[in-house]
């Protein structure tokens, strides 16, 4: 690997880290297509590198988000159980669907979620009345000097989406944040920043479970993975800090754009192959 291509990979990892940490995505949605289509990396090597990048992003942004009290540990744990079951069951369901069907289903889901996020970008999930009981899974959130309360609604929808996210994470090399964050924000009443921080906190664990399989099989392209991960570390630290300064509305619009973009690409891939 030449020095120039190493630098390109570090920068690729860094930009993935910035966007991933801001939106609670691991970054697999950008990294896998970029590595395979633009740089000609074999798919297994690209997925493996992307999983390590997810772990780097998740762990690094958690160090910033924990400090700010943005990670909702209980909600994350509850959703992670669903994700892990989904991960175990995913293979069974996916075996009955063709790659084409999988792509079309997820593309449609993402495009619909993108449109929902766009429409709802002006709405807020937080309640200014701090005497309101957040419930077992809800929480409090500080924005500037103001303390807000949020409650978790429609937990079933959140658990269901986590189950689906777990199912596809290993298959498509995605962390699953791209499904969980919009659902938590649009349907379950979780503020976008908390949804993103909680998602990044948990997807590191999901990714570690899948990444170990690639690692033990020797599918990991070590110098490539190292370069991308070394970029993702400072990138995600920057992204986690940036998300504090960006308005929640802008974060939602950014998320909607990512959903429409990724959904559109998957639809093309599903319909053309």
């Amino acid at each position: 690997m030449s020095e120039a291509s190493t630098l390109v990979l570090v920068l690729l990892g860094a930009s993935t880290g910035v966007v991933g940490a801001m939106l609670g995505l691991g970054g697999g949605v950008f990294l896998v297509p970029l590595l395979t289509l633009a740089l000609g990396v074999p798919i297994r090597g690209a997925v493996a590198a992307s999983l390590v990048c997810v772990i780097a992003t998740a762990s690094a942004s958690a160090t910033v988000n924990l400090n700010r009290g943005l990670v909702n540990l209980r909600l994350g744990l509850a959703l992670e159980v669903a994700t892990s079951i989904g991960g175990l069951a995913g293979g069974l369901v996916a075996a009955r669907l063709s790659a084409r069907q999988l792509f079309v289903i997820f593309a449609a889901t993402m495009i619909v979620m993108g449109l929902v996020m766009m429409r709802r970008s002006g709405q807020r999930n937080v309640i200014a009345d701090t005497t309101r009981d957040p419930g077992v899974l809800g929480g409090r959130l500080r924005e500037g000097d103001t303390l807000y309360v949020y409650q978790v609604r429609r937990l079933g929808v959140g658990l269901g989406s986590s189950l689906a996210a777990g199912g596809i994470s290993g298959l498509l090399g995605l962390g699953g944040g791209i499904i969980k964050v919009p659902v938590l924000n649009a349907f379950c009443g979780v503020p976008i920043r908390v949804a993103a921080a909680t998602s990044t906190f948990m997807i590191g664990v999901t990714a570690a479970a899948s990444a170990m399989i690639y690692f033990s099989r020797g599918d990991m392209l070590l110098p490539l993975t190292a370069a991308v991960a070394l970029g993702a570390l400072p990138g995600s630290l920057l992204g986690a800090r940036l998300s504090e300064r960006v308005e929640a509305r802008s974060l939602k619009i950014l998320m909607a754009c990512v959903l429409l973009l990724v959904g559109g690409r998957m639809a093309l891939e599903g319909l053309w192959r």
């Binding site: 690094a60 160090t63 924990l66 209980r74 929480g139 399989i213 690692f215 033990s216 190292a226 991960a229």
Partner: protein, 120 residues
Amino acid sequence: MALIRPRTHSGHNDPQLAGPSRLDRVVEIVLSGGLLLSAALLLAGLLSGRAPLLWLGVLVMLLTPVARVVVVTAGLVLRRDWLFAAVSLWILGVLAFSFYVAWHVEAPRTRPAAAAAGAR
């Protein structure tokens, strides 16, 4: 001195919901430590071109979230938050299961491939 603050009644005023708790701090230290060690190994491996350093760096990176789950589980037990401690233990179990599958089911199938990757 208790390492982790005891949980307040039924958890509704749980300090971690409004700001960082001691458990958050411990988790932060574990994550930062794992990442720093991994980054140092990966950087040294890339600069020197030595594959074993890269291999070790990636391994440390993969084990960082595992260490995080272990610490959170212990923290929840110390807080006597039994329900969520059980949930966390389940996640640890899933991780252990997938690591077992990785090294005892998947890896033996691809021994030659793994050896070739090590030499790369």
